[in-house]
Every structure is written in C-alpha cells, then in structure tokens.
C-alpha cells in the first residue's frame, strides 16, 4: 500500500487539492473493493464449506463424505469441458483463419460480428437448443456409433434414446466456447507482422504454406491461451449442462453416448440447491469451492500464456 501514494506526490503538473484527493481516493477505493470482493468470494466459500468438511460422512449426501461426493462430479466437469475444448479449438482456429486470411475484408467484419453474437446468447437458450434441436438429431449417430464403434469405450452404449448424453453436452459447450477461442486466435492472427507473411509469399509459398510458416507459429501461444480460457468457461458452465445432460448420481464412466452420465459440479449445484437445506447446502458450497479452485488455476495459467505473448509482441 505504501508504494501507491508515491505517484501522486511525484506527479509534476497536478496541484494537490481536496477534489484531487477525493477523486483519487475513491478511484483507489473502487480498486481495493475488487480485491475485497474476490477475497470475500474465496472466504465465504471456505467458511461455508467447513461444516460439510467436518461433518461425519453419513450425514453428507451420498453417505460417504464430501470427497466421495465431489469426485464423480469433478470427473464429469472435466470430461464435458475436455470434449468441448477438443471440438472447439480446431473449429475456432479455422474460423479465425477464415476471418483474418480467407474472407474478403469487408465481409469479414460482418461475419466477425455474427460470430461474436454466438457469445451473446444466454446459456439457458443454448440449453433449450441442446435439448430440442441438437439431441434428437444426434440419436441416429449414437445408434450408428454403438453398432460400429462399440469396441471403443467411448461408444460402448447402450445408446441413449433421447440423445441427452455426455457427448451432446460437450458439443453444446463447444458451441458456447467457440466465440472465445476464435476471438483470441483472431486477435493474434491479425497481429502477425506483414513482413513475415510477405516474406513467405515472396518465396513462392501458397496461402496455406504462408499460414503454416508464418501465421501459426506466431499465433501458437495465443491459440493455446484462447483454448484454455475456453476451458475455464466450459468448466463453469451451468444451465446448458443442467438442461441437456441426463445424469445418474455417482457415475464415473467414459461412455459418452449412454443416458447414465456423471453430472458436473455447476449443473449439480443448480439442480440440487433450490431444494436443499442444512448440511446439503454446505456440501454443495464445498463442491462450488472445488470448482472455483479448478477454474482459478486454469484461468491464471491461460492468462499467463496470453500475457507472455503480449509482452513478446510489444517488443516488436
């Protein structure tokens, strides 16, 4: 805190007056408020989790303690998010390439805006879309996969008749994080120095070779960072999963096309919280704390990757 008062005394031009002090003080106060809010989020979650953590295992839902309650949920969360990232990253990169290097310039502005609209749609609407549009259309594919790819653990079946499976949930999540992945990739791709691209073209490279040699290496860390930010978003996504996924408590399976799936932490909270009381609430908050920690780690790592690249490009 001591370092922050230095710039004001050092500021050469401004005369210190009451208005100055009030304004600077309230601006700094707002900044500190953010620190307090974040500390509050972590603090309240920890405090409210403690009753669940110290309770005897029989009292916790599931009857085997908090860890056993959260573990399958954490597995489901990571599985759904992993599917989303695996699907969305290549698609997002392709969209970013299309908008920066393939589409006509005037068109690409409009199309970029359209892609951004995907990010604006509320998650509950994605849930509606997932149940009513996507899931029924995937059922034939699941039946086909069970028949022909059943030897893989992912497609062991029995195929869900409603299509409300882990794979459907992952695909809905993929659509939801697509705008983030593509927006960040787009930003780095458009920052590739013209000289790099022209050098490749001057050597006789085709457009794809130019992209492979100059754009993709330059944008690699941006793509990785974007994918991880998307992962962070997918981990915390709630309503779309709560609506789409048909769950059975405590399941742990890699089978992506059946109707018995592990739930995710966020979806489980949304489904259970309104009807919970007492120690159940504390257990749900404990699971929320686990989710908070996981997303925090992923986001910090993603920011570190994206910002490292930003420093690098600033030097150019």
């Amino acid at each position: 805190m001591t370092t922050t008062s230095a710039p004001q005394t050092r500021a050469p031009r401004a005369v210190r007056r009451l208005g100055d002090r009030l304004f600077a003080g309230s601006a700094r106060g707002a900044g500190i408020a953010i620190v307090l809010v974040l500390a509050g989020v972590a603090g309240f979650l920890v405090v409210d989790s403690i009753p669940a953590l110290v309770a005897s295992p029989q009292d916790v839902p599931g009857g085997e303690g908090v860890a056993a309650y959260i573990a399958p949920l954490l597995f489901g969360t990571v599985l759904a998010a992993a599917i989303a990232v695996v699907v969305a990253t290549p698609l997002g990169v392709a969209i970013a390439l299309f908008l920066t290097h393939y589409a006509p310039r005037r068109l690409s502005h409009v199309l970029g805006y359209v892609v951004d609209l995907l990010a604006a749609i509320p998650s509950i609407v994605y849930g509606f879309w997932g149940i009513f549009w996507l899931a029924p259309r995937l059922v034939p594919f699941y039946q086909w996969a069970e028949e022909h790819l059943g030897f893989l653990p992912f497609f062991a079946g029995p195929a869900s008749a409603t299509g409300r499976t882990m794979l459907t949930a992952g695909l809905v999540l993929a659509v939801m994080i697509l705008p983030i992945v593509s927006a960040i990739s787009r930003e780095v791709f458009s920052q590739v120095p013209t000289l790099h691209r022209e050098a490749a073209l001057a050597l006789g490279a085709t457009r794809w070779e130019m992209i492979r040699l100059s754009v993709l290496p330059y944008g690699r860390s941006g793509v990785i960072g974007g994918a991880m930010l998307g992962l962070g978003r997918a981990l915390g996504e709630t309503l779309a999963i709560a609506l789409v996924l048909s769950v059975s408590a405590g399941t742990v399976t890699f089978n992506l096309i059946s109707s018995t799936n592990p739930s995710t932490i966020a979806a489980n909270i949304a489904l259970q919280f309104p009807e919970s009381s007492g120690i159940d609430v504390n257990t749900l908050i404990a699971s929320g704390l686990a989710l908070f920690v996981v997303t925090l780690a992923v986001n910090v790592l993603a920011r570190a990757i994206v910002n490292r690249r930003a420093d690098f490009s600033g030097a150019n």
Binding site: A27, V37, L38, A94, F128, A200, P217, A270, L291
Partner: protein, 359 residues
Amino acid sequence: MSQLTTTPPGMTSPSPGSVRAARRLPRWTTAAVVAGALAVVLLLGALTHLHVAVSVLLTAVLATVALYALSRAVEGRRAATDRLVTCAVVGAFGLAMLPLVSLVYEVVSRGIARLDGEFFNSSMVGIVGEGGGAYHAIFGTLIITGLTALISVPIGLLTAVYLVEYGTGRLKRAITFLVDVMTGIPSIVAGLFAYALFAIFFGPGVRLGIAGAVALSVLMIPVVVRSAEEVLKLVPNELREASYALGVPKWRTIVKVVLPTAVAGLGTGVTLAVARVIGETAPLLVTVGITNATNLNPFDGRMATLPVFAYYQLTQPGVPPQYAIDRAWTAALVLIAIVMALNLVARLISRFFAPTTGR
C-alpha cells in the same frame, strides 16, 4: 523465423523449368465443381430421398474431393493442398454458423406462438395450463439488472480510472491480475458467494432480489473494468497534457477531458456488460429463486426473472406440459431479443458518439 530460411529448398517446384509456366485452373473451377457436386447429390437425392443436412454435407465432401483431385492433376501437390485447406476452413466456418442459424430459427419459430399481449401483461398467479405470462419475470429482470448496473458501473469505471490514471506499482498489478481472475469466476460460484453473504444477515434459505444483483455484479464488474480500461488507454496523452498546461487539476482533467473523450467506448462497454449479465440464470437460481406473483421489491423475498422463469417453465411444466413449454420458448425469445437489442444499441453508441478523429 528459422523455419522460413530452411524451407525454400522444399518449396521449389518439381521441375525447375515449369515455374513460370505453372498451369493454373481457371477461376470458375470452384463454382463449376460445387455446382457439379450439387447436381450429382440432387440426382442421388431424387433416387434415395436424402435428408437436407446429409445432402449439404455430401455436396461439400464431394466438391472438396473433386477439387483436390482436379487440382492435384493440373496444378500439382502444393496447390492442391492449398485448395484442400481452403475448403476445410470455409467448411469449418459454415459448420460454426449452423448452431447460430438453427438456434435463432428454433427459438423464433417455437417462441412466436405465445408472443402475445397476455404474455407481457399477466403474471403466473393462479395459472394452471393455458395462458399466463412473464410480466412479473420481465420486470424482475429489469429491476435486478438495473440494480446490478447501479453497483457495477461506478465501481468498474472508478477502478478503470484508477488503473489507467493513478495506479502504479504493486497495487495496480494486483488489481489487474484480480480482475483477470474475476472474469473467470463461474457464474454459479458468484451465486453461491452472494447466497453465503446474505445468509449471514438473513439466515439460511434467504432469497432476495438484491442478493441476485450482488451475484451478477461479481460477474459484471470485471467486464466493465476491462472494456473501460481499454478505452481510457486510447485517449491521447496530448489532451491530458493540454489540460494540465492550462492549470486544470488532475481530477477535473479526468472528469472534463478524459471521460468525455472516451464516452462512446464507455457506453458501448457498459451496454455489452449489461447484455452479458442479463441472460445469466445460474446465480439467480440460487439467490433469487422464483415466484408466480409480481414482486417488484428487491429487498423482500423471492422475485421472478426471465431466465429463471424460462428454466422452471421448461423443467417443471405441470400437466399438460405444452402450455408451459410454449411460455418457456417465448421467454427465451424475449431474452434473446433483449440481448440482441442491447448489442445493437452498443454498436450504435460506438458509431454515433465516437469522437471525431479527423485532423
């Protein structure tokens, strides 16, 4: 750029003499191949009744393969690969547009049925089955979102001012980092935080509109800070220096020079931030709950909000379910319309209030 210097040998054409006389396919080839593929698929469809989606997919695959083969035969391996990638990139973009188009179509076509006066004029008090509306939910959403903006905009703007105009050293770095962290907080966790906070004062099981506004603020503040910070950074330093040179104190410089210059960007950022939180469901589900009656007091008990209304209409429709499901879709349609309108307003603000930069 070591890759660049090492690649030229690999990029030479198969025979040195053919470089200048490289054969190219005429420009209309792509269109012709796609038309041909479409014709083949249509012919096939006439025989076997293909689904529309399958036909489109088949056309795309067929055209890509044909184009690749043709290009490979005439133009060589490298140009063929280039065309293959172009097809893949364009195809991926088309695939990504599919969810957006189908989603908007689905919501509009299913939601239009109940988009009538009653939907906007009545609440759900005493409604079983047909009729009913989202009057209470629409007003609940407006009130809670308004409160959220009331909390978030001052804190967000002042923080951005601090980061750009005042902040240095460790506190600035800490706040920048924490704002980044805050952007990534899952919305349900923000809801749990607000619930835990208000449960201290009002006891467990509390449901209050203001708690929802606090939860949404946790999500909205970082968005406001991020966008405002970017915009304030764009204000040229010459303006600040000119103001200082006239003897204007720093705070008046910020209020009278910096903020008015950036007002278009700030307005756009705030509008987009509102659009981001207005559709949030999860935090309201755990903090505000749902009610059938109209409650416009955010400090007294449960309120209805549009996203939560849509959620419960769909998941607990009652018997017969169709009426509630129709209401859910109409609520989704109204929600999307609000979000799109806010996005449009944001665009208009940035267009009409932008400072004239011409010199």
